[in-house]
C-alpha cells in the first residue's frame, strides 16, 4: 500500500526512508515504508501498539542491528547517504542520530558525569572543555539553573522529568544532528510531560527530532509532520495540522477520532 504524502519538499529532507522493509526473522514488521524527515522539524509516528513505529524509529540509527535475526531491505538516507551501507561506522551514526528512551535511563553516576560520559568515551579529557560542554548541554535542556549547584549529586536523586532532561543533555553533549525519542513521556506525569514537550519545541530550532508516541494528542501538540502507521505500513504521512483536521484516509480518521485502536 502506498501512503498518502502531503506537501513534502525534497531539498529540506534530513532523513529519507525509501521502500523500507524490516523483518524480525520471518516476521514482516515494516512493509515498504517511505517517508521523509525534514530538518529542524518534529516528525511524529503514531499508531496502535505493534504497528511498527518503534521498529521504524530504531531503523534510523540502526539500533535494530542489536536484535538477533533482524534484517532490513530498502534505503535509509541521512543527508543523502545510506546508513545501511557497509562502510558506515555505526558508533559514529549513533552519535549523529541519538536516542532518548521511554524510561529515563541516567547512569548511576553524578549529574556532571552523566552529561560528559559520551565525551570522555570519545577521549576528551580537558577539564575546562568538559565543564563548558556540560554547562551548554544542561542549559539547552533547561537544567543548568536547577542543577548547577549540585552537579556532583547522583543523577538518580532527580525527579523523573529532570532525569529525562538529563538524558537529553547527555545526548546533546555529543552534538547529534537528529534526536530520536521513543515515547519519552510515557513514564512522566502531565506537568513533566508538558515540560518535555516545551523543551522539544525549543530544541527543534537546532536539531531534527523524530518522536514515537502512543499519545496522538501529544503528536498533535508538538509535531510539524505526522505519520500514521498500521500493521507495519505507513498509511498516511504529512503536515500535522492537515492530518488532524482533514485526513485523506478513512483509516487515519478512524484512528484519530478513537473509532479504532
Amino acid at each position: 500500500m502506498t501512503g498518502t504524502h502531503h506537501g513534502i519538499v525534497a531539498s529540506s529532507n534530513k532523513v529519507e526512508i525509501r521502500s523500507l522493509d524490516f523483518f524480525y526473522g520471518k516476521f514482516h514488521a515494516l512493509k515498504s515504508v517511505t517517508m521523509s524527515v525534514q530538518r529542524n522539524m518534529i516528525t511524529a509516528l503514531i499508531g496502535p501498539s505493534g504497528c511498527g513505529k518503534s521498529t521504524l524509529l530504531r531503523c534510523l540509527n540502526r539500533m535494530n542491528d542489536l536484535i538477533p535475526g533482524a534484517s532490513a531491505k530498502g534505503e535509509v538516507l541521512l543527508d543523502g547517504s545510506d546508513i545501511y551501507d557497509p562502510s558506515i561506522e555505526v558508533a559514529e551514526l549513533r552519535k549523529r542520530v541519538g536516542m532518548v528512551f521511554q524510561r529515563p535511563n541516567p547512569f548511576p553516576l553524578s549529574i556532571f558525569s552523566n552529561v560528559v560520559y559520551g565525551l570522555k568515551v570519545a577521549g576528551v579529557r580537558n577539564a575546562a572543555r568538559l565543564a563548558e560542554v556540560a554547562e551548554q548541554s544542561l542549559r539547552a535542556a533547561w537544567l543548568w539553573d536547577l542543577l548547577k549547584d549540585k552537579l556532583d549529586h547522583s543523577a538518580l536523586e532527580l525527579p523523573m522529568d529532570q532525569q529525562q532532561r538529563l538524558c537529553v543533555a547527555r545526548l546533546l553533549a555529543v552534538q547529534p544532528e537528529v534526536i530520536l525519542m521513543d515515547e519519552p513521556c510515557s513514564a512522566l506525569d502531565p506537568i513533566a510531560t508538558m515540560k518535555i514537550e516545551e523543551l522539544m519545541l525549543e530544541l527543534k530550532k537546532n536539531y531534527t527530532i523524530v518522536i514515537v508516541t502512543h499519545n496522538m494528542q501529544q503528536a498533535a501538540r508538538v509535531s510539524d509532520l505526522t505519520g500514521y502507521m498500521l500493521l507495519g505500513e505507513m498509511i498516511e504521512f504529512g503536515d500535522t495540522n492537515s492530518l488532524f483536521t482533514k485526513p485523506s484516509k478513512k483509516l487515519t480518521e478512524d484512528y484519530i477520532t478513537g473509532k479504532y485502536g
Binding site: 533547561w142 515540560k195 516545551e198 498533535a220 501538540r221 495540522n241
Partner: protein, 229 residues
C-alpha cells in the same frame, strides 16, 4: 519556563482578531461618514476593505480550528477559541453591513437630501458605540461592560421601528421619494443588524470570561428556575 507555545499561539490569534476588529470599525465609520457627507464615491473603497476582512475571517477561523485540533484545549482556553470563532464570523457580517451602508450612501447622494435623515446619524452613533464597546469588552476582558452593551439593543430596535414609520409616512406623502426612502430603510436595517451583532459579540465575551450563556434570555430563565425551586 516562559509561556507555553500554545499561549503564544493564542496571543497571536487574539492579535489577529483585534486587528480584524479595528478594520471592521474603520469600515463602519467610513461608510456612515459617507451617508453624513452624501459621498457617492465610497462604495468601491468599502468593498476593498471588506475583501480584506473576508480574507482575515478565513485565516482566523483556520488558525482557531488548528489550535483546537492540535491542543485539545479545556476550560478558559476552549471557551476563548469557541468565542473567537463566533466573534470572527460576527465581525465579517458586520463588515458586509458596512458595505451595504456604503452602497446606500452612493444611492442617497443621487437623490435630494431629506430632513427625515435626522434620526439615521443618531441611530448610527448608537450602533457604532455598541460595536466599539462590545469589542472593548472582548479585548479587555470586561464582562460587565459586555452586559451593559446588551442592554442598549432594545433602544436601537425601537429607533429602527420609529425611522421605518416616519419614512413610510413620508413616502406615502411624497411618491417621488420612494427610492430614497427605501434606501434609508435599508440603512436603518443594516444599522440595526450591526447593533444585534455587537450584542452577539458581547454575549460571546461574557461566555469567554464568565462561562455563562446569556443569549435568548438563558440567564434570566435559569435564575427564575432557581427561584421557583
Amino acid at each position: 519556563m516562559d509561556k507555553r507555545h500554545f499561549d503564544v499561539e493564542l496571543d497571536q490569534l487574539r492579535e489577529k482578531l483585534v486587528m480584524m476588529a479595528s478594520k471592521v470599525e474603520n469600515l463602519i465609520n467610513y461608510s456612515i461618514e459617507a451617508i453624513r457627507k452624501r459621498d457617492a464615491t465610497v462604495a468601491e473603497a468599502a468593498l476593498a476593505m471588506d475583501k480584506e476582512i473576508d480574507r482575515m475571517e478565513i485565516e482566523i477561523e483556520e488558525a482557531a480550528i488548528s489550535l483546537m485540533a492540535r491542543h485539545q484545549p479545556a476550560a478558559g482556553d476552549l471557551r476563548f477559541l469557541v468565542g473567537a470563532i463566533k466573534i470572527n464570523n460576527d465581525l465579517e457580517r458586520i463588515g458586509d453591513h458596512g458595505v451595504n451602508i456604503a452602497q446606500s450612501a452612493a444611492l442617497l447622494a443621487s437623490v435630494p437630501e431629506i430632513k427625515v435623515l435626522a434620526d439615521i446619524p443618531w441611530m448610527a452613533g448608537l450602533a457604532v458605540s455598541m460595536l466599539k464597546d462590545s469589542l472593548d469588552s472582548f479585548i479587555s476582558g470586561d464582562p460587565e461592560k459586555a452586559r451593559e452593551v446588551c442592554s442598549r439593543d432594545d433602544q436601537v430596535d425601537e429607533l429602527k421601528d420609529q425611522i421605518l414609520r416616519v419614512v413610510l409616512t413620508f413616502m406615502m406623502e411624497n411618491p417621488n421619494f420612494i427610492s430614497g426612502g427605501m434606501t434609508l430603510i435599508l440603512v436603518a436595517r443594516n444599522l440595526e443588524r450591526i447593533a444585534d451583532l455587537a450584542t452577539d459579540i458581547s454575549e460571546e465575551a461574557i461566555y469567554i470570561y464568565q462561562g455563562k450563556v446569556i443569549k435568548h434570555g438563558a440567564e434570566k430563565q435559569s435564575e427564575e428556575g432557581s427561584v421557583n425551586r
